[in-house]
């Protein structure tokens, strides 16, 4: 029987293989990260940014909507988590729920202003709104703590039934974050390959066509924006736990640019796994180049420029074209009917 899942995913990206590798790396990371000279906290940061980047790519790569202000939703998640711990109660799930909800809400409101725009106007508006949130974080001293931000945000224990895990321990916290990242990746794979995700991709390819076969493009663009803001909020909540603080820099334009750069370098435009590659590459560059020279960001920036010039599809695109040079097979073969 031929089913929808036989329709090739974008860039022909496989899932089972890469996912197995991804889970394997995540699951074994604490075993080898210290021996190779890195540290566990890096694993935490990578897992959080993978979550952020994958959710962002639902909007950026799949729907083709270029948000340059997504750091705002990471920040909103971080602040929401912190405020919940400090003002309401110390609770892991409560905090994360609050982080997601706050970011979803902000995303929904901003999305409503954005979704009838496209191209450069869309991008400019995302930046403008990102700056509005950053400005609020800076100026609303009473709530956000201004430039200093919220300090001393606790990492509440993870409680499942009678089982209590202390997340102040970085290894435990790593497991927690890695599990969430893996689940999110799984969910996103489902989303982008379900009819839902196919429509998002159709809108990227041809907004007009999608509209004339009956899709309410505005609503879809709004949904994509809101959803990706929700993922950013979750990542932000975890980031607040990781850093045990939330501060305006989390939602600065700099972070927003960084996530775009990671996704582009990794190849999020052509491949589901691109953002994962991009995040990993960034942190490797930061820690290895950063160990060699103060000016590592300059080199990384140059890498980015070269990448955009010679291989705009990113690292995943590079793999992709290498694969195509190998023995040629028909671009897509019709699945066998069983």
């Amino acid at each position: 029987m031929i089913t929808l899942s036989d329709i090739p995913p974008r860039g022909g990206a496989g899932f089972a293989g890469p996912m197995a590798l991804f889970v394997l790396v995540l699951a074994t990371l604490p075993l080898w990260i210290a021996p190779i000279g890195l540290y566990e906290y890096l694993g935490i940061e990578i897992a959080i940014w993978i979550l952020f980047a994958m959710g962002f790519n639902l909007l950026f790569g799949y729907t083709g909507l270029h948000s340059f202000g997504h750091g705002a939703y990471l920040g909103i998640g971080a602040y929401a988590f912190g405020l919940f711990q400090q003002q309401v109660m110390v609770s892991l799930w409560g905090g994360l729920f609050c982080a997601i909800t706050a970011a979803l809400l902000a995303g929904a409101i901003v999305g409503a202003f954005l979704s009838h725009r496209r191209g450069i106007y869309y991008a400019l508006l995302t930046i403008a709104f990102g700056q509005v949130f950053w400005f609020c974080a800076m100026k609303l001293h009473g709530i956000t703590g201004g430039e200093d931000g919220l300090l001393g945000i606790p990492r509440p224990d993870l409680i499942i039934g009678a089982w209590r895990v202390d997340l102040n321990d970085n290894t435990n916290f790593y497991w927690f974050v890695a599990a969430i990242a893996a689940l999110a990746v799984l969910a996103l794979w489902r989303i982008v390959n379900a009819p839902f995700g196919r429509v998002l991709q159709a809108i990227r390819q041809n907004e007009t066509r999608a509209r004339f076969v009956g899709y309410d493009v505005w609503r879809w663009k709004w949904l994509a924006f809101t959803l990706s803001a929700g993922f950013a909020g979750l990542a932000g909540g975890l980031f607040a736990m990781a850093q045990q603080s939330a501060y305006p820099d989390v939602m600065s334009l700099h972070q927003s640019g960084l996530i775009v750069m990671m996704v582009l370098i990794g190849g999020g435009l052509v491949n589901f796994w691109g953002p994962v590659l991009g995040v990993v590459l960034y942190y490797i560059a930061r820690d290895i180049l950063g160990g060699l020279t103060e000016a590592w960001l300059l080199w990384y920036g140059l890498l980015f420029v070269i990448m955009v010039m010679v291989r705009p599809e990113g690292v995943a695109g590079l793999f992709h074209s290498l694969k195509q040079r190998l023995p040629r097979q028909a671009s897509v073969t019709k699945p066998e009917q069983a």
């Binding site: 041809n206 066509r209 076969v213 009956g214 493009v217 019709k334």
Partner: protein, 247 residues
């Protein structure tokens, strides 16, 4: 009663009046042709009828229902489908996905992000059936981008058909096609007219006169002549453009 009516449609872009006063009436089950010189406003007229632009004045009704100023996706869902003069496809997708996206049954399940693909073979079959109508079933699993120009034009029509329309607007479907492909297309339209009401813009007079039950000639944003093909041959403008004097 006419299935689709437009009365006194006017459309301006800034100071430029593109549609002065268009009145059209398309009978159910008919093939209605639209012709006129370049820049006459034919495509703009389609844009207004299908909701891409709201008219500045006038009224559009479909099956007795006022659709003036409704959004394109709303009009599309009511059963108004169209193709484009400039090709408009989902280029990164395979052929069958282009068609499937347009199926109302697919649209109905698309709102659920986690819906499994169980039972989708019915959607695939429906999509293949549509592709079969335009002779593309063989190419269902090719990339849309890799199709020949003629096949892409056929796919354009397949996407419009997949939406299960009651009326089909085709904007210059023969543009850029060779003689053979044009003939195939004429045959396709003959088959389609048994199931759909069709309105098409065409420059190819032979093609149009063979197929259409009625023809409206648009010039300077107005319908300057209208009637059965035979009757129109006597029209001065039509006769001149048939001789190739007016492009």
């Amino acid at each position: 009663m006419a299935l689709f009516r437009a009365e006194g449609i006017q459309k301006r872009f800034g100071a430029r009046v593109v549609l002065e006063n268009i009145t059209l009436s398309i009978e159910a089950g008919s093939v209605h042709g639209i012709m006129g010189p370049n820049g006459a406003g034919k495509t703009t007229c389609f844009h207004v009828l299908t909701g891409h632009h709201a008219p500045d004045a006038g009224r559009i009704t479909f099956d007795g229902r006022d659709i003036t100023g409704l959004k394109p996706h709303v009009i599309a869902r009511l059963g108004v489908s169209r193709s484009f003069q400039m090709m408009n496809l989902f280029d990164d997708a395979v052929v069958i996905e282009n068609v499937m996206l347009a199926l109302p049954a697919f649209r109905a399940i698309s709102g659920r992000p986690f819906r499994t693909s169980f039972g989708d073979s019915r959607l695939i079959e429906a999509a293949l059936e549509v592709l079969d109508q335009v002779g593309l079933a063989e190419r269902a699993w090719h990339n849309a981008k890799s199709l020949s120009y003629g096949d892409r034009r056929a796919l354009e029509i397949a996407v419009a058909l997949a939406a299960e329309p009651r009326i089909l607007f085709l904007d210059e479907p023969t543009a850029g096609l060779g003689a053979k492909a044009t003939q195939n297309l004429a045959q396709l339209i003959r088959r389609l007219r048994q199931r759909y009401t069709i309105c098409l813009i065409e420059h190819d007079m032979r093609f149009l006169f063979e197929l259409a039950d009625r023809i409206s000639v648009i010039h300077w944003g107005q319908v300057i002549a209208e009637g059965a093909p035979e009757a129109l041959k006597a029209n001065k403008w039509v006769a001149r453009s048939a001789l190739g004097e007016v492009a």
